[in-house]
């Protein structure tokens, strides 16, 4: 009987989880959305947009869409609605499945209304996933991209560059990005393009050009869209100006860029000699299971003579090496290079009183304790 009951409960809970949560619980705070609308220079305000968002959200998943976009709305307005959600996704660094569905719906609607940006984005979406789309769709997407490219549509040129960049075709990517910059030079998108050009120059390497592009990218774009520019610029300044490199790397770390934690940790430990700060950076990296952060944390603990922390770190590292093959090699080389420290750690660990021994001593009578050396535990 109880089994049947539990099964029923399970079914009920799964049906609840399948149900969409109400829109007001998913949609972010008014203040945040208003700020994004201001940044996007939207002519429409949230009170006008909210009902449209809600109606589209409620009609998602239904066979016959019930939503109505007001006739006063243009394609660009729908695209701004989509961009608001996209920016929210980047800013909060979280993905809500329902909001992503809403974003896709808005994109499709904008494309249907004839927005070139939306058409370009949708066409490239098709090209990026050829397995999931039919050959007719791919041919149609290519045709649309070709037409938009001939019209010198800026976003199409940028997306073509991104496509080449993703496929490691850096020469062509550079050509497309430069074509884009000839059309748009001082927008957020230009900032992103400068960032990509900087990375291409960094890889070539043409470091003077890379520095110029990355600086332009940082000047034009907010941090959350171009974390990689900050990271690469920090790499460029690492040898000549570590102070500047630290500031840039900290900016990248503030956006949760994984690779920056270990570099910041090592920079603080080896150059600035700020061991407590480096411990904090390594801790953040350790939460992401970065094996180099474990190594840095151990070294830092040894320098601070925090033997207990070092011992715990060593244990975690051994557990990590058992779980991951890639970490195993790094841990093995670490163990062989830090033999002296590990031996010292063992010496200190042995000197520590075990709880059993403490309990034994506590049970000894006072008189006996006095006869013995008080500290000879």
């Amino acid at each position: 009987m109880s089994v049947v009951k539990s099964l029923c409960l399970k079914r009920a809970s799964s049906s609840i989880s399948m149900k969409k949560p109400p829109f007001y619980t998913v949609f972010p705070q008014k203040k945040l959305v208003n700020r994004i609308l201001f940044e996007l220079d939207s002519k429409l305000t949230l009170p006008k947009l909210y009902p449209v968002y809600e109606s589209i959200y409620c009609s998602l998943g239904k066979n016959e869409p019930e939503f109505l976009i007001p006739t006063s709305f243009r394609a660009s307005d729908v695209m701004i609605m989509k961009k608001v959600l996209e920016k929210l996704r980047h800013r909060t660094k979280s993905v809500n499945r329902n909001l992503v569905d809403l974003e896709n719906e808005l994109l499709e609607k904008a494309a249907e209304m004839g927005d070139s940006d939306a058409i370009a984005v949708l066409s490239f979406k098709v090209l990026k996933a050829p397995d999931k789309n039919s050959s007719e769709d791919i041919t149609h997407a290519k045709k649309l991209i070709k037409e938009l490219y001939q019209l010198r549509h800026a976003l199409t040129i940028k997306l073509t560059g991104d496509f080449a960049f993703k496929n490691m075709d850096f020469d062509n990517a550079g050509i497309y990005y430069n074509q884009f910059l000839a059309i748009e030079r001082d927008t957020y998108r230009a900032g992103e393009v400068y960032g990509k050009l900087g990375i291409i120059s960094f890889k070539k390497p043409n470091l003077i050009e890379a520095e110029r592009c990355l600086l332009a990218s940082i000047r034009l774009c907010p941090l959350e869209s171009i974390v990689q520019s900050y990271y690469h610029l920090a790499q460029i300044y690492m040898d000549s100006e570590p102070l500047k490199a630290r500031a840039l790397m900290e900016s990248a770390a503030s956006e949760g860029f994984k690779e920056s934690f270990r570099l910041l940790g090592f920079l603080e430990m080896n150059y600035f000699k700020n061991y407590n700060k480096s411990l904090e950076w390594f801790k953040l990296g350790m939460e992401l299971y970065d094996v180099e952060c474990f190594i840095g944390y151990f070294d830092c603990c040894v320098k601070l003579q925090a033997w207990r922390k070092a011992g715990n770190c060593l244990k975690s590292m051994q557990n990590l090496s058992r779980a991951s093959m890639s970490a195993e090699t790094a841990v093995q080389s670490f163990l062989s290079s830090r033999k002296a420290h590990i031996q010292k750690l063992e010496t200190y660990s042995n000197a520590v009183v075990s709880p059993h021994k403490l309990a034994d001593v506590a049970s000894v009578k006072d008189g006996e304790l006095q006869r013995e050396n008080r500290w000879k535990l």
Partner: protein
């Protein structure tokens, strides 16, 4: 490049596997060092083949390297002036004692006037050099980064020798242009004390613009500078070879004392930094001085190791290079050493050994690494390290059959 930097950060513990020290204990060990260190062998070869020499003054290609006008005299003209007067038949014997002092005074006055004019010119012309570069950053940092970029690019693309957009003369004159700011106080003192000013300059030589210094005043300042040698990290190192030491790893008092002796930090600022325990400003200045020395070394080495042209270093530049790198013992008179053949050779070989140790395996000496890749980021552990356990002197020079 990213991968390389990650690895360096990972393994950059205090121990660095740099080149081994140049041994001067015996002729045999020196020869072993010579065969192990290709940079030293190249420098010795350049010196022996006559591609590299030291002279009083230069013209032609080497004029791009030396800036004599911004450096002090090496010989006080007293003996020369006196002998000229004594051998002058136009001057009667009865007035010779008076005339020789009068002419000496005139020569010294002329020297001061020339020095002041040169300080003015250096300041004016170096402004044109500075205008070529970005204003918001020190020139040293910009050039150091530029050098690093170009070396990495030339290593990957094999584009041949690296060139910077500035000559050593211009670089040095930018570095020495701050002497200009001594002129106002110098003039005020001149108006106040008139003919008594030389006596004040004798007792406080630091008020005089650098290129107006007499050899005696220079000696006093060189003694002040060498007294700070004990604050160098390589002096407190337990191992014979220097370890990696970042500027931030040094005690603040050592940093400020070093900067004060290098004339990079006034006394009042050093007191404030120590008072408020402000490490950032002094440590950054020390790192910048380290970068300045690396760049200066690079300019000189690049010219000396080039087989296409002959390089001539002036006596004044040689003395200045030795002074800045603290490659002398307390009590040594660098001017008199540079004016005699054996002494000049000692000074030059001290520089060779210093460079050979620092630049072995680097790109400028035919290696494959940048300076930071060999020694680590701003490693002041090797700041003014002579490259050998003991500084070379005349006796060891003879013993080693150099």
């Amino acid at each position: 490049m990213i991968r390389l930097r990650c690895l360096r950060a990972h393994y950059s513990t205090n121990k660095i596997a740099g080149p081994s020290l140049i041994s001067l204990s015996s002729s045999k060990s020196y020869k072993e060092s010579l065969s192990a260190n290709s940079t030293l062998a190249q420098l010795v070869e350049a010196y022996r083949s006559g591609n590299l020499r030291v002279a009083e003054d230069v013209q032609g290609n080497s004029a791009e390297i030396n800036s004599n006008r911004s450096l002090p005299m090496t010989l006080f003209p007293k003996v020369q002036v006196f002998s000229d007067v004594m051998s002058d038949p136009k001057v009667g014997d009865w007035r010779k004692p008076m005339t020789k002092w009068f002419r000496l005074g005139k020569t010294v006055l002329k020297m001061y006037l020339n020095g002041i004019r040169d300080t003015w010119n250096v300041h004016k012309e170096s402004r044109e050099t500075l205008d070529k570069f970005a204003k918001h950053q020190p020139l040293v940092t910009q050039l150091y980064r530029d050098l690093e970029f170009r070396e990495i690019e030339s290593r990957i693309k094999s584009t041949g020798p690296v060139q910077l957009a500035i000559t050593r003369k211009e670089f040095q004159e930018v570095h020495r242009r701050k002497e200009f700011w001594k002129l106002p106080s110098f003039f005020v003192l001149f108006i106040l004390f008139e003919e008594a000013l030389p006596f004040i300059c004798y007792f406080i030589p630091s008020i005089v613009p650098w290129n107006c210094l007499t050899p005696g005043a220079f000696k006093k300042l060189s003694e002040v500078r060498i007294s700070s040698q004990k604050f160098l990290p390589c002096k407190s190192s337990e191992t014979p070879a220097p370890d990696y030491v970042s500027p931030y790893a040094m005690p603040l008092t050592n940093v400020t004392e070093l900067l004060r002796s290098f004339k990079l930090l006034p006394r009042w600022k050093s007191i404030i930094y120590n008072w408020f325990d402000n490490k950032v400003e002094p440590c950054e200045s020390l790192a910048q001085f380290h970068q300045y020395l690396v760049l200066d070394d690079w300019f000189l080495l690049q010219s000396m190791l080039s087989k296409e042209k002959q390089t001539t270093l002036t006596e004044k530049e040689l003395i200045n290079a030795i002074l800045e790198r603290q490659l002398y013992e307390p009590g040594e008179n660098l001017n008199s050493l540079a004016r005699e053949e054996a002494g000049r050779k000692v000074l030059l070989w001290r520089l060779f050994i210093y460079w050979a140790f620092r630049f072995q395996d680097t790109i400028v000496a035919g290696g494959s690494k940048t300076f930071s890749e060999v020694w680590g980021v701003n490693n002041v552990g090797i700041l003014n390290f002579p490259g050998s356990q003991k500084l070379l002197n005349k006796t060891s020079l003879d013993n080693l059959e150099i």
